[in-house]
């Protein structure tokens, strides 16, 4: 059977460095950090007192008060970013066949704050269970795409993928597959996360996963730097409208790029540590190239998972060297997490969007905060350090890896 082609026709973003696509791109190309001291709660006793929170986000700008109260922040972010992407796609909601429009979303955790607050409330009482009736429907990870479909009437496939930090990459790959198999015309995909909460910060701190560079939050996320000491927790959402190519052409849609392939693999090794030989990471990029029918030398840019953790960054770059060989130094490698922090389940989406915008504008955003060379990293690699680089990007790869050993990779190619 002939697989259909799938293209990206709409984008939306709500990130720590910009509350829409234009703001996000401005910040990306200018190397702006979204990291600052935590404002959501008193972090005095926490090992890490900073995060990449959204800036100037007021739910009242997007929802009426009653509506906002029924939505955990991760679901609010999903609605805000998907609204932007749907508008950007210029699809006529009265004309599309809504039974053939799906929503496949990624969330690593879901409504963590809702869960936390309901349990705190119970613990403060006398043991009588007085849980809010909206507790469960607000918290569950699948409520984000549920709400998107309710708002727009999309009646195709609808669910959330959960694979920690790879969640939204898995969502995009599922969306790609449903469309290319002919099951859907359009799928709104992406991911959202809102884990900058006492439970989120406390939990990741307990794992020693987070940077503790409290004296300089804006330089804390420093992928590939020798002095990196952990990731910076971020929050927000990214949304993409994926569409069958002929469907997009027929309605004269603007096309960002073609989604040419997706790769998936598992480390099968440890709950949180990356495999020391990076077998899963090598496999996921190989799988993705094979799925796309591309050769290593076709790839111009890679937005890495690059979280700024001591082990993960080196393992990923070693895998890139292994797969891309002599071509590796010609690739613009970067980690936009240096600016956005790590958005967990939304990371794959906002990073894929960064790749798509690189293709659109011919600029690769930098890996900021690099000061000290790590001798474990191949010096021949171009890590796009500290300053954006002009580069015609025809093929871009976006990597994401999640706790649990989940690896997912997506490839985009310009439509010629």
């Amino acid at each position: 059977m002939q697989l259909k082609r799938v293209v990206v026709t709409g984008l939306g973003a709500l990130t720590p460095i910009g509350n829409n696509i234009d703001e996000y791109w401005e910040a990306l190309k200018n190397g702006k950090s979204g990291c600052a001291p935590i404002t959501y709660f008193d972090s005095e006793k926490f090992k890490t007192k900073f995060a990449c929170e959204l800036k100037n986000y007021n739910p009242e700008d997007y929802f009426d008060r009653k509506e906002a109260r029924k939505l955990d922040r991760f679901a609010q972010y999903a609605l805000v970013s998907s609204d932007e992407a749907i508008k950007d796609s210029n699809m006529d909601l009265d004309k599309v066949d809504k039974f053939r429009v799906g929503v496949i979303w990624g969330a690593g955790i879901g409504g963590l704050e809702t869960f936390q607050n309901e349990v705190l409330n119970f613990a403060a009482g006398d043991g009588t269970p007085r849980f809010n009736p909206f507790f469960i429907p607000k918290m569950i990870a699948d409520i984000a795409p549920g709400n998107i479909s309710i708002k727009h009437g999309f009646m195709g496939p609808n669910y959330t993928t959960v694979s920690a930090c790879a969640s939204s990459a898995n969502a995009m790959i599922d969306a790609l597959n449903y469309i290319r198999l002919g099951h859907c015309d359009i799928i709104v995909t992406g991911g959202s996360e809102a884990a900058v909460t006492i439970a989120g910060m406390g939990g990741f701190n307990a794992m020693h996963a987070l940077s503790t560079r409290n004296e300089s939050p804006e330089t804390a996320s420093r992928p590939f730097d020798a002095t990196r000491d952990g990731f910076v927790l971020g929050e927000g959402a990214g949304a993409l409208v994926l569409e069958e190519y002929e469907h997009a052409k027929a309605r004269g849609a603007k096309i960002y790029a073609e989604v040419v392939g997706g790769g998936m693999s598992s480390d099968a090794y440890h709950m949180t540590a990356p495999h020391p030989d990076g077998i899963g990471v090598v496999k996921v990029m190989e799988n993705c190239l094979r799925d796309a029918g591309l050769k290593p030398e076709d790839v111009d840019a890679i937005n890495t998972h690059g979280t700024s953790t001591p082990l993960g960054d080196v393992a990923e770059l070693k895998a890139i060297t292994q797969i891309f060989g002599e071509h590796a130094p010609d690739i613009n490698i970067n980690s936009t997490k240096s600016m956005t922090g790590h958005l967990l389940g939304a990371a794959g989406a906002i990073e894929a969007i960064a790749s798509l915008l690189s293709m659109k504008y011919g600029i690769v955003p930098p890996t900021i905060n690099h000061t000290t060379v790590d001798e474990n990293i191949d010096p021949k690699l171009n890590l796009t350090l500290n300053k954006a680089q002009k580069r015609e990007v025809n093929v871009a790869m976006s990597n994401t890896f999640g706790f649990g050993g989940h690896n997912a990779c997506v490839l985009f190619k310009k439509i010629s």
Binding site: D64, R65, R69, R130, P133, F134
Partner: protein, 77 residues
């Protein structure tokens, strides 16, 4: 308006996001004030908390309007 009535109305305005003028005695939570089944459960729980009373489920089913809520709470207090 009694103290109980004004507190009941304040809860309804807050939880359902409706205008105070709409919250009249005969207004039905679901038909007039836009509440769904979960909103109604939440309202009952808020009444219990605000007035420190217990409203059993079988009696909660009979509280469908603003006036019925006020009457129930006035009798229960």
């Amino acid at each position: 308006m009694s103290d109980i009535a004004s507190r009941v109305k304040a809860i309804i305005v807050d939880k359902l996001g409706v205008d105070e003028n709409e919250v009249v005695a005969e207004a039905s939570f679901t038909n007039d004030l836009g509440a769904d089944s979960l909103d109604t459960v939440e309202l009952i729980m808020e009444f219990e908390k605000e007035f420190d009373i217990q409203i059993p489920d079988d009696q909660a089913e009979n509280i469908a309007t603003v006036g019925q809520a006020i009457n129930y709470i006035e009798e229960a207090k």
